[in-house]
Amino acid sequence: MKKLRLIHLPVMIWLILFLIIPILIVIGISFLQRDELGNLVYSFSLESYATFFDPLYLGIYMDTIWLSVVTTIICLLLSYPLAYYIANASPKIQTWGIILVTVPFWINFLIRTYAWVLLLRTQGTVNNLLIALGWIHEPIQMLYTKGAVLLGMVYTFVPFMVLPIYVAIEQMDRRLLDAASDLGATKWRAFLHITLPQTKSGIMTGCVLVYVSTTGMFVVTDILGGAKSAMLSNIIQSQFLGSRNWPFGAALSIIFVVTSLVLIFLFNRAMQSRYLAAREGK
């Protein structure tokens, strides 16, 4: 490990103040109780954790993990080819490609999500178009379904996947592909044996970013999912802001952070080759 230097001090203070201490506070609150008015009662209790094992919450918990995993996989499948195309294009197309991928960030996130409502609702653009084309006769219920939430999540987080993968492909030493070709590899096998393993770090970063962001995103679920498709992040939000059950919200947060950490750890273990391990150990 690198030695800590004085120059790291501001970062350390920042992390302690705004990351470590808040997490400790949340952990603390999760073991407390509350009175009828929602005020914290300072006595130790595991009640909040016990509540979590209610089938209602367990179901939402599994739904959330499932949605996040599926979102991550779809983002990866969409983003890799796109990032690959951009990274191998001419410098001009590369610049435009990256601008286009980041353009959505320039527009307020809520506005973008409400735009999906206009597209997906019963009287929305998509339904009207399909009816006008004669493909359907009754409007399809698209808004307020899990599919709409998935769509919104993928739409929101694709750039988080494209960018790290693009950087990894862009930074890869292209001479390795020449070497592979020289040694008899076809384009496809060179991609499989060289490009893919060489860009694994980008894939890993993108997957973790998308997964973690999806689990924490409640706005998309609120707007596109309606009441039935609540995710854990919606429950957490309502525990803190609506029901004023801070201990339960805190417990859910902790359960979720731990789950994410375990999943990310397992994912890293699965993805990491001996080579990456050797590199890091150096």
Binding site: R175, S181, D182, G184, A185, A278, K282
Partner: protein, 324 residues
């Protein structure tokens, strides 16, 4: 038999001629070197032979077969890249086996060939290491092992020792030469180091600005350079002009005498260079603005002073015409 035949190949990059039309045949088992200063087009020629660049015009034959339009993975030759281009995520062993794997060689044979290549390049102890865990010299060996494991008809080497320090370079030069002899594979070697070229090659192609200056054995090139560039690029030379002709005389063929009247040119000793195996005088000529370098005989035990007036002369048989 011809292993490689280049027929009037040339290469333009965005309208600029980088390699002028070049014809060359290379025999089976020959060690041929492309020698020239940086930027003269050596790498481009190798990349055309390997298939990474298409010649703007002309044809390339490998072992009698036209390969001009064949992609690199379908040419039975291998290139050792200037910066090795080892696969960072593969061990030494995996790197070396890569070509065999791509050609779907049976696993038992793969193992055999990898072991053979490891042995020839003295890497047997390092099979499980990753490239970043190796020194420059070891990485170079892996690059060579990775190429020879495929038993290619021709091995192309692009300044393979360029990134190494002098000591290591010397010892690897010897190893390379021995390797080439024992494999019997045709080598096309690129370097800008004339000494390396002289030491390794059966034949040398001297290049300058995308053009061939001269092709010949090291001896031919040293003793009878055809152009001014060849005369000055290989070894040291003194270039004289008389009656509008240019000729070269090697320092070892220059005689320095104290009897000024017996000499063809007169001058002043400007510097005395003693390098152990060479003892040189630099003489500034009186009538021409040039220095003459003379290598002294070992039997010669005369002592010289800087500033001393001397005469220089040579046997006209040692004059080599290099242009006009």
């Amino acid at each position: 038999m011809h292993m490689i035949e280049l027929v009037q190949i040339e290469k333009h990059f965005s309208g600029q001629v980088v390699v002028h039309p070049l014809s060359l045949t290379i025999k089976e088992g020959e060690f041929l070197t492309l020698l020239g200063p940086s930027g003269c087009g050596k790498t481009t020629i190798l990349r055309m032979i390997a298939g990474f660049e298409q010649p703007t015009d002309g044809d390339i034959f490998l072992d009698g077969q036209k390969v001009t339009n064949l992609s690199p993975n379908r040419r039975d030759l291998n290139l050792v890249f200037q910066h090795y281009a080892l696969f960072p995520h593969m061990t030494v062993e995996e790197n070396i086996a890569f070509g065999l794997k791509m050609k779907k060689t049976p696993p038992s044979q793969q193992k055999e060939r990898v072991e053979e290549a490891l042995k020839m390049t003295q890497l047997t102890q390092l099979t499980k290491r990753y490239p970043h865990e190796l020194s420059g010299g070891q990485q170079q060996r892996v690059a060579i092992a990775r190429a020879i494991a495929n038993k290619p008809k021709v091995l192309l080497l692009d300044e393979p020792l360029g990134a190494l320090d002098l000591q290591l370079r010397k010892s690897l030069q010897t190893e390379l030469k021995q390797l080439q002899r024992s494999l019997g594979i045709t080598f096309i070697y690129v370097t800008h180091d004339q000494e390396e070229a002289m030491m390794l090659s059966d034949r040398i192609v001297i290049m300058n600005n995308g053009q061939v200056e001269q092709i010949g054995t090291p001896r031919e090139i040293y003793e009878t350079p055809r152009t001014l560039f060849a005369a000055t690029f290989i070894g040291e030379n003194n270039i004289f002009s008389s009656d509008g002709r240019l000729f070269a005389v090697r320092p070892e063929n220059i005689r320095v005498v104290r009897e000024i009247n017996k000499a063809s040119r007169k001058g002043t000793v400007q510097d005395i260079v003693y390098l152990g195996n060479v003892h040189k005088l630099i003489v500034q000529l009186d009538d021409e603005p040039m220095n003459v370098t003379a290598a002294l005989d070992f039997a010669d035990d005369r002592t010289w002073q800087i500033g001393e007036k001397v005469g220089v002369s040579w046997n006209p048989l040692h004059e080599v015409m290099v242009g006009s």
